[in-house]
Every structure is written in structure tokens, then in C-alpha cells.
């Protein structure tokens, strides 16, 4: 599948934004106004930039509002609706936090629930696409949810330490979230590497009973939309290298910086380490998402010479 940058930015940034918002809405941090502006502001910025970026690949962005109408059947529509609904308890939480300096636990609970549902809907946009076996499995929502928590957790650590709220438990919580995401992603990779598609060139043409089906003449001489959008393939060896890079950026480096923050009690160093960890986890997640598309194979490739999808 073609890795469209707008979608990669959207899932990475909005995932981190909802992860951070989820952690903020649990109410572990004091309802300090400045901290509220910085932390809620960072999460809102990531969510809004992500959502806007998702409209960039549309043929008609000006009609994007129409995507809110089909929530009964479409996960993309559900995601759009939930993203907008989430702004309501978030605004309520922000109002009490920023204006009254109090933490509203009802608004917090509602916000936390909405964040989980929204990220789940984002995941199911891909998870429901039956034609792509790399997406259409139970790991997809787990991966998206755990990545939102991990990237949000590192953002949480960064913004709290930046604003001078350096609690000793925070780096360890971030590490736990990172390890969970790492384990789930590793299981996901194992699953897709060992899996087989239920369709092959034989079932795609219905001619498998006659023997091996080969394409001898494609229907067009140049690449078309189908091949550009769904025939994107990445060489295996590049994929493995990129997986390695993404593991370092996503997990290894952020875990090391979090350990450093936990052990060293020098404030400036802690803030710098948290910033490095945050930048690294975002860059790593962008790589992971790029791979999530680039490695995914669509059944339409079966009509263009692929034996299995």
C-alpha cells in the first residue's frame, strides 16, 4: 500500500495527542494553570494538526464534513465523529483546569473514554480493510492503542518535566508503556511475517484448478492508480533495516532517556533528555507507520503477477 505522508502524520500525531490527553485526563498532575496550558495545548495541537493533515490527501477536502454522516457503517466516519465528540469533554476539562484551576474528574473520565474510542476507530479504519491481511487482524487496534499510550506517555513526561513537575514515578510509567507497545509490535511483526493470505492468483481468477496463474500481458503499459495506490512494494531487506531503525527510535532511545531522567536528578538534563525521547518516539512512530503501509499487500496485486497477497 502506498504510504501517504498525510495519513502517516495523521495517525502518528493524533495518536500521540490522544495518548497525552488520556493521561492528562486521569488527573495525576496538579491542576496548575500554566501546566494546563502547556500540556492540554500540546495535546490539542497534535490532535488538530493530525486531523488537518488527514484531509490533505483528499480529492475534495472542502467536502470533508460529509465524512461525518455515515457512522452507521464506516469506521472512517466513526473516527471523524468521535474526534469531534472528544472535543466536548476536553473543553470542559480545560475550562475547569485553566479558568478555575481545579481538576474536574467527571470531565476527565469522559475525556479518557473518548480518547480510547477515538484511537480505536482510527485503528479500525485499517483493521476493517479485509483486502489487506497486514491490517485486517486483531493486532491492529492493539498496536494503535499501545502506540498512542507510549507516544503520549513520552509527551506527558516531557511536558511535565518542562513545566517543573518532576515526579519520580513518571519515567518508569513511560517505560512500562513503551515496553508494552514494543512487545505488541514485535508480536504483530511475527504474525504478519508468518501469515499467509487466504487469497492467491488462483482464487482471484478462479483458474487455480488449471494450474499456476501467470500474468503475461498487463492491461496497461504504464502504472495506473491501482498500482500506485495498492501495488506499492518495498524490498524485504529495506523493510528489515527500517524495522531496526524504528525499534531504536521508538523504543530503545526513549527508554534510555527515561532511565536517565529517573536516575539523574539534574533538572536541565532531565528536560533535555525528555525532549530527545519525545522527538525520537515521534520519528520512530512515523517510520513504523510508513512501514505499516509499505509492507502491506493488497489483493489487487494478484491480478498483476503476485502469487499471494
Amino acid at each position: 500500500m502506498h504510504p501517504a505522508y498525510s495519513i502517516i502524520f495523521f495517525t502518528t500525531l493524533s495518536g500521540a495527542g490522544y495518548g497525552l490527553l488520556f493521561l492528562l485526563s486521569l488527573g495525576f498532575l496538579p491542576a496548575d494553570r500554566l501546566l494546563g496550558v502547556a500540556s492540554l495545548g500540546l495535546s490539542a495541537a497534535m490532535i488538530v494538526v493530525g486531523l488537518l493533515s488527514s484531509t490533505f490527501h483528499l480529492g475534495h477536502p472542502e467536502r470533508a464534513w460529509r465524512a461525518l454522516t455515515q457512522w452507521r457503517s464506516s469506521w472512517l466516519s466513526r473516527e471523524g465523529c468521535m474526534a469531534i465528540i472528544t472535543f466536548a469533554p476536553m473543553a470542559w476539562l480545560a475550562y475547569d483546569w485553566l479558568i478555575h484551576g481545579t481538576f474536574n474528574s467527571i470531565a476527565g473520565t469522559l475525556t479518557a473514554i473518548c480518547c480510547v474510542i477515538t484511537v480505536y476507530c482510527t485503528a479500525m479504519i485499517y483493521g476493517s480493510v479485509k483486502t489487506v491481511r497486514h491490517w485486517n487482524n486483531g493486532y491492529t487496534p492493539l498496536v494503535y492503542l499501545s502506540f498512542a499510550l507510549a507516544t503520549g506517555g513520552v509527551a506527558y513526561l516531557f511536558v511535565a518535566f518542562l513545566m517543573g513537575y518532576s515526579y519520580g514515578w513518571m519515567p518508569w510509567h513511560a517505560i512500562v508503556a513503551l515496553v508494552i507497545a514494543w512487545v505488541i509490535k514485535a508480536i504483530y511483526w511475527r504474525h504478519v511475517d508468518n501469515g499467509r493470505s487466504i487469497s492467491d492468483a488462483g482464487t482471484a481468477t478462479g483458474l487455480g484448478y488449471m494450474g499456476k496463474v501467470k500474468l503475461i500481458d498487463p492491461p496497461h503499459s504504464e502504472e495506473n492508480y491501482l498500482l500506485k495506490e495498492m501495488g506499492y512494494t518495498i524490498a524485504r531487506k529495506h523493510a528489515h533495516k527500517l524495522r531496526g531503525i524504528s525499534v531504536v527510535l521508538c523504543f530503545v532511545l526513549p527508554i534510555l532517556t527515561a532511565i536517565l531522567i529517573g536516575l539523574v536528578q539534574i533538572e536541565l538534563l532531565q528536560v533535555l533528555a525528555a525532549l530527545v525521547g519525545f522527538a525520537s518516539v515521534i520519528a520512530g512512530t512515523l517510520t513504523v507507520r510508513w512501514l505499516y503501509f509499505a509492507e502491506a499487500k493488497h489483493t489487487v496485486t494478484l491480478y498483476y503477477g503476485a502469487e499471494r497477497a
Binding site: 483528499l58 455515515q70 482464487t203 498487463p218 489483493t299
Partner: protein
């Protein structure tokens, strides 16, 4: 509404494609493009049509396949357009309601005035039956020539999809699959018409007819020549006499 119709459609219009007959001439591909670029909606645009990297939206494509190995292999021309699935995943995935399946005849269409060009429907279709119109920013797909089959402004005999009308070999047939006596239902029954990728659960309306079995006992070219000359010799008469004379020198 992008939910599928709750009750099955009264008619199930679609195509039968005969893989035994298709010769891969691409006439249906061209006539589909020709009709639909001047059809009821916006043109079916091309990008850089005369340049080096030509691209464009087409609703019907013919792939040439080789199936089997060695002397048992066969060349099969494989036309592919939207199958107007009963459980169309492209319809339920559409966030805007632009993609829909008609209650009356089961045709799957795109309302281009609602489409945002997100491409999710094309991802959901296992068959690659949808192509983005890059100039229009909207999704295009086979309409089953809905602007021909009910069109009272054209002669009745031509109220068929353009691809069916134009096929010089009669490899494409149009009809109602809900009517057990229709031409298409009969063909499917007699020839064992089948679904593409049934495991995807889309329940396509269009059916493919398999190539007929090869005639394995047909004598080879060399064999048949010998048989012919023996026959001539046995015939006697002038040809037999001539054959005898000529054979003597050999």
C-alpha cells in the same frame, strides 16, 4: 446512505463474462471508456494522455494470463470490471454516503457530488474495480451503463452496457440474475459460472464462465497430414493415380 439495502434487491443486474470466448481484443475496454467519458457524469479523465507517463481512469481492464505449465498451458484473456457485489465492502466503508447500492436493481454507484476522494472504497474492493479520477478528485467505477440500459433515447436493442454491445466475440452478457430464466442465469447454470475470490465474502453479482476443457484426443498436425495422404491414396481415381506416380520416385 452507505449501509447496504436491508432487503435484497428485486432485480440483480450484472454481467456474465465468458473466459472461453474472450479473445483479448480490448474492444470492451475502449468502448467503456468512450461511453463513460461522455456519459451522465463528468468525463473519465486522463492525466498526461500524450506524454511519457500516461495515466487515466478506466472502468474495465483486460489482463492476459497464462494458466498451467508446458504443453498444457493456456492463454486466457481476463476482463475485469466492477462485479456489483451483494455485500459490497466499498459501500459500507464509504464515509460520505457517496458510494451506494441501488435497492431496485443492485447496481453499485458513486454519487460524485458527495465523494471526497478518500480512496477508502478502492482499498476495500478486493478486485481493483475502482479507480480515482485524478483530474476530478472523485472515485470512478463501472456504472453497469445505467445511462444506457434504461435509456429510452437509444434503440431498444442497444439498451445494454457498452462493453456487452461492442464485444465482437460475444464474451460479455448482461441480464438479471434474480430471474432464473434469464440468459445470464441459464449460462451460469449450464457452464458452471463462478465468483472471483469468494473467500472475501463480497458475494459478487457478476459471474465468470470457465474456459472449456481442451480437446486432448485431437490428432497432432503431423499425424493429420499423414492421415490425409493415406486417405487420398486409398481414394483411387485421378488423385490416387497421381499420388501413386509421384510416390514411386520417393
Amino acid at each position: 446512505m452507505t449501509s447496504l439495502p436491508l432487503t435484497p434487491s428485486a432485480k440483480r443486474l450484472g454481467l456474465v463474462i465468458d473466459l472461453d470466448i474472450c479473445v483479448g481484443c480490448q474492444a470492451c475496454v475502449v468502448n467503456c471508456k468512450e461511453w463513460n467519458t461522455g456519459g451522465y457524469a463528468a468525463p473519465l479523465s486522463d492525466v498526461n494522455p500524450y506524454g511519457a507517463e500516461t495515466d487515466g481512469a478506466w472502468l474495465n481492464r483486460v489482463h492476459a494470463l497464462e494458466v498451467g505449465e508446458g504443453k498444457n498451458s493456456r492463454t486466457i484473456h481476463f476482463p475485469k470490471s466492477c462485479l456489483h457485489c451483494d455485500d459490497a465492502p466499498c459501500v459500507t466503508a464509504c464515509p460520505t454516503g457517496a458510494s451506494y447500492k441501488r435497492q431496485d436493481d443492485g447496481i453499485v454507484l458513486v454519487d460524485e457530488s458527495k465523494c471526497i476522494g478518500c480512496g477508502l472504497c478502492a482499498w476495500s474492493c478486493p478486485y481493483g474495480a475502482r479507480e480515482m479520477d485524478l483530474a476530478g478528485g472523485v472515485m470512478k467505477k463501472c456504472t453497469l451503463c445505467v445511462d444506457r440500459i434504461y435509456n429510452e433515447n437509444i434503440p431498444e436493442a442497444q439498451r445494454q452496457p457498452a462493453c456487452v454491445n461492442t464485444c465482437p466475440a460475444s464474451a460479455r452478457h448482461f441480464g438479471d440474475f434474480n430471474d432464473p430464466d434469464s440468459n445470464v442465469s441459464e449460462m451460469v447454470r449450464e457452464r458452471g459460472g463462478y465468483d472471483l475470490m469468494p473467500e472475501m465474502g463480497t458475494r459478487p453479482t457478476n459471474k465468470y464462465l470457465p474456459p472449456r476443457a481442451k480437446q486432448q484426443d485431437k490428432p497432432s498436425c503431423v499425424g493429420s497430414e499423414t492421415a490425409a495422404s493415406t486417405q487420398v491414396a486409398a481414394q483411387g481415381g485421378f488423385l490416387g493415380w497421381l499420388d501413386d506416380i509421384l510416390s514411386m520416385g520417393a
